[in-house]
Amino acid sequence: MIREERTPQSEKAAPHSGPCIVSEGLGAWYGSLQALRNISMSILAKRVTAVIGPSGCGKSTFIRCLNRMHEVVPAARVSGKVLLDGEDVYAPGVDPVEVRRRVGMVFQKPNPFPTMSVFDNVAAGLKLNGLRAPGGLAERVEKALRQAALWDEVKDKLKQGGAALSGGQQQRLCIARALAVEPEVLLMDEPCSSLDPIATARIEDLVRELCDRYTIVIVTHNMQQAARVSDMTAFFLMGQDRAGELIEYGETQQVFTNPKDERTEAYITGRFG
């Protein structure tokens, strides 16, 4: 299988883009247990940012704070600010539903809605949102499926159930579903952990293609994947009291060849613990 041509990361590093999502002093709790402490970082627009770190360091919690999914868990709360294009998404009066339309999410295990067909799955975000789809639903669905590199494989199966696809296809279906509502940012929580290497490679290629249009934040515990796929890398680590902290954040090639913090070095070279 040939991996398609994609923009080498070095070419994109030069024109530095502005920030898209900025967290300022972000803290997150599950009840009385603090999961994140004082996370301040600027995620750049139209770049892929990888979030790495050992288990339990708060990576998933962090991205769930970016689209206000953290508060779905009972007794969860957040402090600090998350600025999406300059506006705080946690300001009073901001509707979380609106935030989630602009910041989409793809989960670890592919989860296409089981009672809906492929078409309905991709259209779910549009139909159930009450969003008027200019140009018709079918067009939007096709566009999303093409962006997710899935159109050719499912164009004859649009009425079939989502569960009939392979694991890798299902995950691309979930990506198409997220893209159909045309978000600004796409959050991906370990999207390849349940996939085989070939499906993983296809999704990684897809991520590189998508970052021309979308800002992507990808959580992964696979360091080689983070190194392959991202422009910027953030390293999180659990502090003394088990609250996650941001240790280092920089350009991927620098973090993986010459990290500034020795804890980052220890983690990256596998000499942790």
Binding site: F256, T257, N258, E265, T269, G270, R271, G273
Partner: protein, 221 residues
């Protein structure tokens, strides 16, 4: 601490590199000695023993590549492996220069020496010292020592200038001595290149420690 196996490999690689370094050091000393004493047998040995140096380098290279493929080295580990790879190449080239000196010695044959050798052995001593110190800098990950090696190349260059001018004078005064002078010129050129390669090794050591690639010493020739 995890990756015990990988660390063991890295240590054995570094040891192998030092073995290669000492092989090259011995070859340089032997070639110079054979040249001084006009010992053709010894010169022949130097030429033959270069094969062993080449073998050692290829083994090192293969080992490095294998580790890169199977261990996914990152950050410092990656720089270490790349550095070892480069230094192995530099050492093998130095071994080739020592072999070159041996060949020149054989070509000179039974001809009487043009002049007593003074500056050329001093160049050899300096170059060998630089080689030894650059490898010590590697063992100790010492950037200050590495910088010192790079500075010393100026001395070797100065000696080379001197030898060159002296031999040129001989050649102008007596055209019949041109062949013998040329041989000695080649020997001093080889020694100057050996010193240069030693500074390359030192630059690589600095890269390993700091992650920065810099050209510290630009050769005049």
């Amino acid at each position: 601490m995890p990756r015990v196996d990988f660390d063991r490999h890295l240590h054995s690689l570094q040891d192998d590199l030092l073995v290669l370094g000492s092989m090259v050091e011995k070859a340089i000393a032997k070639a110079l000695d054979a040249l001084k004493r006009r010992d053709l047998q010894a010169s022949r040995h130097v030429v033959q023993e270069d094969d062993a140096i080449d073998q050692q380098r290829f083994q090192l290279e293969e080992h490095c590549i294998e580790l890169i493929a199977t261990q996914q080295p990152m950050a410092r580990d990656l720089r270490t492996l790349i550095t070892i790879l480069h230094i192995a190449v530099e050492l093998e080239r130095m071994g080739d220069y020592a072999e070159g000196i041996g060949r020149i010695s054989l070509m000179m044959g039974d001809e009487p020496p043009l002049k007593p050798l003074i500056d050329i052995p001093r160049m050899a001593e300096k170059a060998t010292d630089m080689l030894r110190r650059s490898l010590d800098a590697l063992i100790n990950r010492d950037t200050i020592a590495a910088n010192g090696v790079c500075k010393d190349d100026d001395e070797v260059d100065a000696l080379y200038d001197q030898v060159y001018r002296e031999l040129l004078t001989y050649m102008i005064q007596d055209p019949k001595s041109i062949q013998r002078a040329t041989y000695l010129l080649w020997v001093s050129h080889d020694l100057e290149r050996i010193a240069d390669r030693a500074t390359n090794i030192a630059e690589r050591v600095i890269y390993l420690v700091t992650g920065k690639l810099t050209e510290i010493n630009v050769s005049k020739y």
